[in-house]
Symmetry: C2
């Protein structure tokens, strides 16, 4: 005995992924690798399709345009980062926040591809009209807000980071990270991002405490 076809359990309800989902996931992975390696501008959907084992039209069925593919990649990575930073509670404050920079660097050092992707996209998206322009602008804005909240908060382990030059340092920290990540891509083997950030935080501690 069989069910009428319109009663058939759809593939989505079986817990097993549909073919389309697998193609989509593979395409996202390949696109991220390409953007990471050569940037969005130089990436071609033809190459992404080929590496994903699908035709160009097959790829464009899941992502209606090249820009849509980029947006999907960025949104996926942003969700992962948010879970890491805030997933286990409220954002860290005071000196703990500065230490979280070290943790973030350590995490990023295990994800060189994502670092490269972000650096390249940030650089490209500076020009208005770039598909990722709005995304990058929003990303930096939220980081800046977070830094401001951190610097205004106090804790018991040292003087207030917001004291003399806290406002400046919220920005300096991020710029240090950005510059380091950018150069990390050019000479990956010579640099330990974690060591450099740790040294920077140590300097700040010595100055204020």
């Amino acid at each position: 005995m069989s069910f009428p076809s319109h009663y058939a359990i759809p593939p989505t309800a079986t817990g097993k992924r549909r073919d389309g989902d697998r193609t989509r996931a593979k395409a996202l992975q390949v696109a991220a690798a390409q953007i990471s390696a050569i940037g969005f501008n130089k990436m071609t959907i033809a190459r992404v399709a080929a590496d994903a084992g699908v035709s160009q039209s097959g790829l464009l069925h899941h992502f209606p345009s090249k820009a849509a593919l980029l947006a999907a990649v960025l949104d996926e990575r942003e969700r992962e980062d948010s879970e890491f930073l805030f997933g286990d509670g409220s954002p860290p404050l005071g000196w703990d926040a500065f230490e979280s920079l070290v943790a973030l660097s350590a995490r990023n050092q295990t994800r060189p591809e994502w670092v490269e992707l972000f650096v390249r996209t940030s650089a490209e998206a500076t020009v208005p009209g770039h598909p990722a322009h709005d995304w990058v602008t929003r990303h930096y804005q939220s980081l800046r807000k977070l830094a401001h909240r951190r610097c205004r908060a106090r804790n018991g382990t040292g003087r207030d980071p917001a004291g003399r030059a806290g406002a400046v340092h919220g920005r300096v920290d991020r710029r240090l990270l950005d510059g380091m990540q950018q150069q990390w891509g050019l000479e990956p083997r010579e640099i330990s991002m974690v060591d450099n950030v740790r040294e920077h935080v140590r300097l700040l501690r010595m100055t204020w405490s």
Copy 2:
């Protein structure tokens, strides 16, 4: 009475520039502006030619290829920078060298176009095969050598910058500059590069002296 034509004074000897030189200079200027605004990859020689008031073929007469145009722009700027850094004597050492970072930032703050051009080109040229890949690699190598020489030198105004973490700081400084310049392009009005570098140097001084 007139001279035979082969005795005529050639235009180059009159002290007045030839037409070709003017076209070439204009093209270099326009190309720099384009690379600064949208990067080398997105720049088109058609647009450069149009803005320079010449046809595409006219432009390609002076620069045989798009890559050659980029090389000419980079070489011109590098010559200017070398004159600023070393033109009036030997490179600064010890703490003076760190202070020279402030001077360099101040100079760059008056040349946003060149900063943008360099940031964009550095980012693009990370991918092997890019026309500026070798140029950027060489540029960073010479900067690194300079930083090492600085950090090894001593002077009387403070403890040796090379002491505990000098090797790290030679690199941190440049990364701070890079990251700052990159972000300066995204939000130019919110940041004073000079203030940030000055604050960074002040921190270093407080730590060591």
